[in-house]
Amino acid sequence: MSNVYHIVVCAGIVPDPLQTLEPITTPTGPALKNEMMLPAVLDPWSGHALYEATNLAAHFPGSKVWLVSAAPKAKLQQVMMNVAQKASFELIPIDVPANGFADAHSVAKILGEAIQTIAGLDRSRLLLFGGWESASRGAGVTMQLVGERLGIRDQFQGVDQLTVQNDGSLEILERIEGGRHLVSTCQGPPALLGWATGNLPEPKNNPQVGMANMRAIMPALQKAKPASLFQNVRYVSVTPPKQQRQTRVVKDRSVDEIAAELAEWIVQS
């Protein structure tokens, strides 16, 4: 029973990255145009954390995975129709009108409170997972703040690999510059890991896993408690990443010539 983990994954939802994301100003602050009407996905960074969590739990019998998500309930339900087929977990939904511009402190507060109320959670076995970034805006501090609130001192960010050693200690690889990793070892849980991409592919959909999950997820969603967010952050301006497009119509040039010019342009940019 020594290597049994209680893994809590914090995951938000974001608009499908293929969608047109256009920032707008609303009376309550910045938002994305038509965000509620765009299809949403699980934040890809958090998604990696979830897949790593379920993989870890599968290797250590008795372990359990919770997915804590603060998002508009109805949107979260749509996302679950897909995510629930990829991994086994118990959903702890929090119904909040969160978007990419929510105050990280506020989100961390409600996540922390929700985690503290999870029945049967053994804090001594707790591994708190999440994305080290978010695909929505990328404040990059939410997980640290949740960890602080829960009193978790061992925190790792940009994690690509977690290996449980024979003595139960955790070897963790964190991304650093130049495509290299910082190797750390910690004694064991509780620990917080903000995942980068990890090493696992996105699991294929398995409807039988989904059907099993949904029996608990649907009631949980129905009972999801509404929460409100405070907003201490004031955005001066919001712009999406710039797209650079330089198009010329070129005729009578060989493929090699075009390729050479493109390569030169990329090097200069």
Partner: protein, 737 residues
């Protein structure tokens, strides 16, 4: 003085979301189906799309790439949709809507992939519908993907009905496949020799078993039946050569040859022995009727998916058409809107979109109807047993009596308490729903695929030359061709029209149809923007025409509405399909409006979406009404002989002398007369005197009324077009090209 500008109604902002579609198509409360959609979509827009983009369609052979899709179907739960949980399936209950959704998602990318998936269900369907409990348990379990702890590959099946007739093609009504008894020892199971050649048989490249229709070639076997043939049976199991088809290349099709020895237990549904003769419990017609009744719906849904899948690529192409050109600078109309600055591009896309919406609504309505019907059929079997009713004749008698009662009740006013029996009494519910399913299935197959194929051509044309290249986003060129196959396989258009020409005259259906006219008027009073009123008038016209044709004769005294007169019955069936599709479309939009507000994920922007979809309903209703008016007018008037300038034809014409003599009494009458015969016998230069139609005057009144009912339909199209020019679409298609 400043004048207030009118408030513009909210309109569409993004493409309809999954949540909206779930409400619209009636599965918002089915998370199992919602998950199935996501799982199927991941396969369609992943492995299937990659295979198509990599040229997987450019081969008639069954390749490793195509075979890999079967494994993807297994993993995603697509193969198991057809089975019940105890057989390795995902969920219990009827599967029609589930299969329709699978077909929709796969066809969104490639129809052949959908066919490959659905053909396995088609092979199992005879066993599922009419097989013995032992056959059902055995084959359904083995065809399900391996369960945890199992190490086996699922059985794959093929359905073999059609067969070659030399120099002609295929015929599903005549069976050349033969079965005879080769060994029958006392007290043992007879052994059968089955000879069968198949034509255009889907899945044959990899099937492990085949459900084949055969006729008796032995006086000891009565009639026809369907038998199960297995790959390992003694004899010949020749898969034949792959068909060189130009469509649906991701499915396997070939012309197999079988000559196999099988035990009589392989007869689907079993048999009994009477006076030394083996009598199959079901002949092949009874089985395929039960099978095709359901599977044809999914084909209709496939073409609907193609149309709706074309919307996003066409919008993106139209908007980006001029970008990169020197004359289109960012910010200019030419740059931002591209071809969408032109009304024609938008109007034609609105037509494609409206047709897609209508066909999806019709297809899913049919699927839902069969989901409702399936349990009723089982309850009916229990009822027959409970009442001791045995044999087809006794059952028909009971159903006929119930149909008479249902027809009478349906004619009562909506609020009449006696109508409650239509919902509470099993027999009445069954005959009412059965009559509806009998119409909806062929209608969905016929109209969705036929009209869909034509509209896919329109969608392709909206992409310009790009549309007929392999590089066309959304594979629209492929989809256009594929739609043509969908109009043909599983019963070509003539078969569907033939079925409709019978089922649409069922008094129970007609009574329901009559109540729909009232329903449409009622809807129109609260939702005038849907075009429901025009549709109600067109429905009235169709009903009047049906009645007229059933009681009228042509100029030579020939009965008009009769089985052999397909020039009458088939167009009228076509006209009905237009009406059914437009009605289903309206009902789906109303469901969205009614139930969507409760879903916070679609509440924002719901009114805009509903307004836009209502405009598309109006566009489609107007188009449907126009088609119905054209078809009905031809049928009502076209079988009368046009009057000629002969004695009989000119009997009602004025003669110049008569008018001159009357001029003194009624000054000016000369100017009112037409078709005047001159003193020298001359007459106006035209085919004959104009037709007077005393018997058809109600039709003319309806025609005039219908023309007026189209008021506003073009304004709706303008609004829809403008919305399309403003809608926000994703940056890129979510599957490769």
């Amino acid at each position: 003085m400043a004048t207030a500008s009118p408030v513009q109604p909210e309109t569409l902002r993004t493409l309809p979301t999954d949540a909206a579609r779930q409400v619209q198509w009636g599965f918002a409360d089915r998370f199992d189906l919602q998950m199935l959609v996501q799982a199927t979509r991941a396969v369609a827009r992943g492995p299937v799309a990659r295979l198509v983009a990599n040229g997987g369609r450019n081969s008639h052979e069954w390749t490793d790439g195509k075979a890999s899709l079967l494994e993807a179907f297994d993993e995603a739960g697509i193969t198991a949709v057809f089975m019940n949980p105890e057989e390795g399936g995902l969920f219990a209950g009827p599967k029609n809507l589930a299969l329709a959704l699978v077909a929709f998602e796969l066809s969104w990318v490639d129809g052949g992939a959908a066919t490959a998936s659905l053909a396995g269900c088609l092979a199992l369907a005879p066993i599922h519908e009419r097989g013995t409990p032992e056959q059902q348990s055995h084959y359904m379990k083995l065809a399900a993907p391996a369960q945890p702890g199992e190490d086996r590959k699922p059985l794959r099946g093929a359905f073999c009905l059609t067969e070659p007739i030399p120099y002609v093609g295929v015929d599903t009504g005549m069976l050349n496949g033969k079965v005879r008894i080769v060994e029958w020892k006392d007290g043992e199971e007879p052994l059968l020799q089955v000879e069968k050649r198949g034509r255009f048989i889907t899945n044959i490249g990899f099937a492990n078993f085949v459900t084949a229709a055969v006729d008796s070639d032995d006086e000891r076997i009565k009639g026809s039946c369907m038998v199960i043939l297995e790959e390992g049976d003694p004899g010949v199991f020749d898969r034949g050569t792959p068909t060189r088809k130009m469509v649906h290349q991701l499915s396997s099709t070939g012309d197999p040859i079988f000559n196999l020895r099988v035990p009589a237990t392989r007869i689907i549904g079993g048999y009994e022995i009477k006076d030394g003769v083996l009598i199959p419990r079901f002949n092949h017609s009874e089985i395929i009727e039960a099978v095709f009744r359901r599977t044809r719906v999914t084909v209709g849904v496939m073409t609907a998916a193609k149309l709706l899948s074309a919307v996003e690529p066409v919008i993106r192409y139209q908007r980006g058409r001029f970008r990169g050109a020197e004359t289109a600078s960012p910010g200019s109309v030419r740059y931002e809107l591209g071809l969408q600055a032109r009304q024609d591009s938008l109007h034609r896309l609105a037509d494609v979109w409206a047709t897609g919406e209508a066909s999806a609504s019709l297809g899913f309505a049919a699927a839902r109807a069969f989901d409702e019907l399936d349990p009723l059929e089982k309850e009916m079997e229990t009822l027959y047993v409970g009442r001791g009713i045995v044999g087809a004749k006794a059952k028909m008698k009971l159903l006929r009596e119930a149909a008479d009662r249902a027809g009478a009740l349906l004619q009562l006013p909506t609020g009449d308490a006696r109508r409650g029996a239509l919902k509470s009494e099993l027999l009445l519910r069954f005959v009412a729903l059965d009559s509806l399913a009998d119409v909806l299935c062929p209608a969905a197959k016929l109209w969705n695929t036929g009209c869909g194929a034509q509209m896919m051509r329109e969608a392709v044309s909206l992409m310009g030359g790009y549309g007929i290249t392999e590089d066309c986003p959304g594979f629209l060129g492929n989809k256009w061709m594929d739609a043509q196959l969908e109009a043909t396989y599983e019963g070509p258009e003539a078969v569907q029209r033939r079925q409709l020409s019978v089922t649409m005259t069922n008094p129970v259906f007609v009574a329901q149809f009559r109540s729909w006219i009232r329903e449409m008027r009622s809807i129109a009073s609260e939702h005038p923007g849907t075009g429901a009123c025009a549709l109600a008038t067109a429905m009235t016209m169709w009903l009047w025409t049906l009645d007229h044709l059933q009681h009228s004769k042509d100029a030579d005294g020939g009965k008009l509405y009769q089985s052999a007169r397909q020039g009458v019955t088939f167009p009228l069936a076509d006209a009905l399909c237009w009406l059914l599709a437009a009605r289903c479309q309206i009902l789906d939009v109303l469901r969205l409006e009614r139930e969507g507000a409760a879903d916070s994920s679609i509440a924002e922007g719901l009114s805009g979406l509903v307004n836009f979809l209502s405009d598309l309903c109006h566009v489609q209703s107007a188009r449907a009404s126009g088609e119905v008016a054209r078809i009905c007018a031809e049928l009502v008037f076209g079988y009368n002989r046009h009057p000629a300038w002969d004695e009989q034809g000119t009997r009602g014409c004025w003669h110049e002398d008569e008018l001159d003599s009357l001029e003194g009494i009624m000054p000016g009458i000369n100017s009112y007369g037409f078709d005047i015969i001159g003193r020298d016998g001359s007459h106006p230069k035209k085919a004959g005197p104009c037709v007077t139609c005393p018997g058809e005057s109600p039709f003319l009144s309806l025609q005039t009324k219908l023309a007026g009912c189209l008021t506003g339909s073009r304004l709706a199209k303008d609004r829809a077009a403008e919305a399309i020019s403003k809608i926000m679409i994703p940056e890129a298609l979510d599957y490769p090209v």
